[in-house]
Symmetry: C2
Subunit: 555 residues, 2 copies
């Protein structure tokens, strides 16, 4: 154990430093280059993924499954993957977690942090396997599957480990308290413990099975809580591999693998609510739709972290180069077919148009330029399929196909995207609708998928007012704004900050509003209804334990 702790100390120290510097930092390289990950890494990862098909996933160290279940399906093939996972009843999962709790909580934070960092090294060795598993469960394109489910997720996990380790060691384990009373001193020896809250549950989503799961998972683990991972039934394999790597490290250190369990739904039995409502479950991390998220938040006696849905806005006021802006926005709305929590949906454009340099470009010209950029990207065979990926769920595809906004105008109809590698891929290019600014009810809900709403406003003031109102009332996770006016910029910062929404200004080129950098960008602020699971500010970890002190007169 001491060896493992020493081995990872510098990684943790660097990660903590990065958290506070918030300059660029990545412990896990995002480039899937053979120079970094090895000449055969991609091929071997693909082969390992292929070997999982139609097999039982037997790597988990959870004994005596009640049955083997699985319902994943590749959005690229529209065929079942056939992987089967061990099923355990919620009672069994919770009982095993409770049994494992004592062992885990009695380790020092530094020991837990080191073991979990060791597990991330194991995850790193399987980034390519995880990437293919992610492609064929979520529909993400190869590059995003690799980056988001591999290095970016591992960095977010390391961030949670580092933050948890830092917060648990910010106060002394023991001290001598000596109070002068005039003629004598009262002297007490004091000690403190960071006491974990208990059994933790992490509920995953179908689109980012590792990226959205590992922060809560590693945050709960590093603070001493045993964790049950309940993945979305359609996206299990990527996170099952991560859980297996954690269990491997636990077992290698003679610890109970049930400290971190995978708990899947059976094909005919959904277990999430049973787990949520179990009184032993004290912590819940949830990513997914707002309806279930609101239910999770309403549970009593639980500490809950959510990332629910929101409506993300783009405010167009003025810019230097409208073509670059249109290309940037077209990419943002197309990336993984809009199936990102950070994807923009509502584009606020003044009816008077957008100021470009010294010229005022009319509204209609702006809209058509964006539409042309979206079409250009979707129909570019070298880019389109790699940016758009596939649609995870047929429900999303149907939503795009059937969308008709009462009183709205279709600016661009959705289309298919030819994927030369996967002829059966479930694809859909973005559709663009125009909605009048007065019809707030039409653009105040999340329309998950490749859907872009252009909202014609009176002026930028109305754009800002509506974007802030939507974020405050319905939640938002990102916001993009284009303005060359310093006063407008400050106003947007002020109003969106009160709505708890980060703003990216004037993005063009290879950086997009959807992107979110570990160790630098706080993800989901807790300041609006979109959720409170802020990756990773101190609140995300300190609510998982309580400080308890002990004192005794010094002898």
């Amino acid at each position: 154990m001491t060896e493992t702790t020493q081995k990872h100390q510098s990684t943790l120290d660097n990660a903590i430093k990065a958290l506070h510097g918030r300059t660029f930092f990545a412990h896990f390289p995002e480039n899937p280059s053979p120079d970094i990950y090895g000449a055969d890494a991609d091929r071997l990862g693909r082969e390992k993924f292929e070997a999982h098909r139609n097999q039982q996933f037997t790597e988990l160290l959870q004994s005596e499954p009640e049955q083997w279940v699985g319902q994943e399906e590749s959005p690229y093939e529209q065929q079942p993957l056939g992987v089967k996972y061990p099923f355990f009843s919620p009672e069994t999962l919770v009982q095993r977690a409770q049994k494992a709790f004592d062992q885990w909580r009695k380790l020092k934070p530094a020991q837990r942090a080191a073991l979990l960092t060791e597990a991330l090294d194991g995850m790193r060795d399987r980034f390519f396997e995880i990437a293919y598993a992610t492609m064929h469960t979520t529909g993400q394109a190869y590059m995003m599957s690799f980056q988001a489910s591999g290095p970016h997720a591992a960095d977010r996990a390391l961030e949670a480990i580092a933050a948890g380790y830092e917060e648990q060691t910010r106060f002394p384990e023991e001290t001598r308290w000596e109070k002068p009373m005039g003629k004598y001193n009262i002297t007490l020896n004091k000690t403190w413990r960071a006491v974990p809250k208990g059994v933790a549950l992490v509920i995953g989503c179908s689109t980012f099975p590792t990226w959205n799961t590992v922060p809560g998972m590693f945050a709960s683990l590093v603070t001493g809580n045993p964790v049950i991972i309940k993945p979305h039934p359609k996206a299990v394999l990527p996170i099952a591999i991560v859980v297996a790597e954690v269990q491997k490290v636990l077992a290698a250190h003679n610890l109970d693998p049930n400290i971190c369990q995978l708990g899947v739904d059976a094909d005919n039995r959904l277990i999430t609510k049973d787990l949520c409502e179990n009184t032993a479950v004290k912590l819940i991390d949830y990513t997914g739709g707002s309806q279930f998220g609101d239910y999770v938040e309403s549970l009593k006696g639980k500490t809950v972290f959510t990332e629910k849905t929101g409506v993300n806005s783009i405010i167009l006021d003025s810019c230097d180069d409208l073509d670059k802006v249109a290309q940037n926005l077209a990419f943002s709305v197309s990336l993984y077919s809009g199936q990102m929590c950070t994807a923009p949906q509502n584009f606020f454009i003044p009816e008077t148009g957008v100021k470009v340099g010294d010229q005022q470009v009319p509204y209609e010209e702006v809209v058509q330029k964006i539409a042309a950029a979206v079409t250009g990207l979707a129909t570019n065979p070298k880019a389109g399929p790699h940016v758009l990926g596939a649609i995870q769920s047929s429900a999303t595809q149907e939503r795009v196909q059937q969308l008709a906004l009462d009183g709205g105008r279709s600016i661009l109809a959705h289309g298919t995207v030819d994927n030369p590698t996967f002829k059966n891929a479930r694809t859909c290019s973005p559709s663009i609708h125009e909605v009048d600014a007065s019809r707030v009810e039409q653009f105040s809900q999340e329309l998950f998928g490749p859907i872009m709403l252009v909202i014609k406003t009176k002026d930028t003031q109305e754009s800002i007012r509506l974007a802030a109102q939507l974020a405050r009332e319905h939640g938002a996770i990102s916001c993009g704004a284009y303005t060359t006016d310093q006063e407008v910029k400050e106003q947007i910062m002020d109003e969106m900050s009160l709505a708890g929404t980060p703003v990216s200004f004037n993005l063009t080129g290879g950086i997009y509003v959807n992107q979110n950098a570990g160790f630098s960008d706080f993800h989901v602020t807790g300041g609006n209804p979109a959720g409170n699971a802020s990756f990773t500010n101190p609140e995300f970890v300190i609510k998982r334990f309580t400080w308890v002190g002990f004192r005794e007169p010094a002898v």
Copy 2:
């Protein structure tokens, strides 16, 4: 403003250092000595208090009161104080707070911290006036009134200011993020803001009108939220003085005094629920009974910090000197007549007695020794009145007088305490009842006041099990334990830590389980139903704001 900021920087730096060292630290001396506070300080403070009687409290800078109200009564005199306070409707209070919000939130954390520290200096100059105001509203004895409402409260306030300042400055205001992309770098300028949540409400209690109010008050203020202080209608004057001092500093710096408002109940209209349910109110700090506390915690869309009721236990296993233990416990149960949230109530004693050195002292002898110590203290004219003080509310006095536990045995009947200074003081010496360990329902609720329950257990194992169970299920804020056995001690620490309850071991002499040192002891851990308002760990301040980031390509 710059001058004020510089003036208090070293105070803040020292306070932050103390928070992390957790050794003895006090910025405000607790000794009401003329050498420290001036030869005339006590006399002047008393005169200032006397001058408030039957007058309007006109120091507040809140304009246009709707009426003047007041219903305080001295527990020492059982006569109305006659002080009248300005009344404002909840809507007026909230509207004024909202109006003041912009000005306050736009200051830097360092500026707010300095202004609030300046206000504590003003409070310091009125410690004696506050002490007499506290005596004649709460019934605390002189020394406690001075210490708890003056220096101890001010230190807890400084702790909240320091913690809030530290947390808001733990991440950079701006940084340059440069990501290497191979052939080029992406460079973003990033900035972050700690964004306050909005209007804050602090609901005070009748027994510790400043000590329990200032932590939430200053924590919300330092993080940029305008605050409405809603004191208990029977204990307004001590905190009204503090609010006036804050307003004075605000006005002196050309800031809206409504950043910190006093909002009292009218004699015929209680305003707390209206304030709680106002959608603009985002933060609530509450101290008081569990029933109303549970209501506050159930409100949606609010961040809530509570200190409710709990049942505090003493576990007697073994000790070196039973007489000293009995004296210590008698003092703890008598201090302010048991009207402290940290006062012990349930004394778990094994039927086999307590091991003292090498001898086993029988149960009955232990109980009688404690009873004798309680009687000795209450009937000692030089100590009794100064330790017991007076009973704040007639409801508490009636509870003690009418207490009859079904199946229980009275070990010591309550009595009166002669107070030579205040012949009409509402007093009551502690009563002791014996309850069988099987009758959990009889000792699982808080019996506020000078009531001590001796619970006869099978052995120390049962004592620990019951104390931990009560804390987990009904809450606890303190726990005392006496054991010379290292294994028993570790077991108590382990089980009480899981119940979120701090433990004081083997206290004898001049230190008591009720006492709680600023900058060292975390008060209320959040780990059990007694509340989550932990003075002052980071959670107590960071939940009052959210981090919001902004980014833009570097030019």
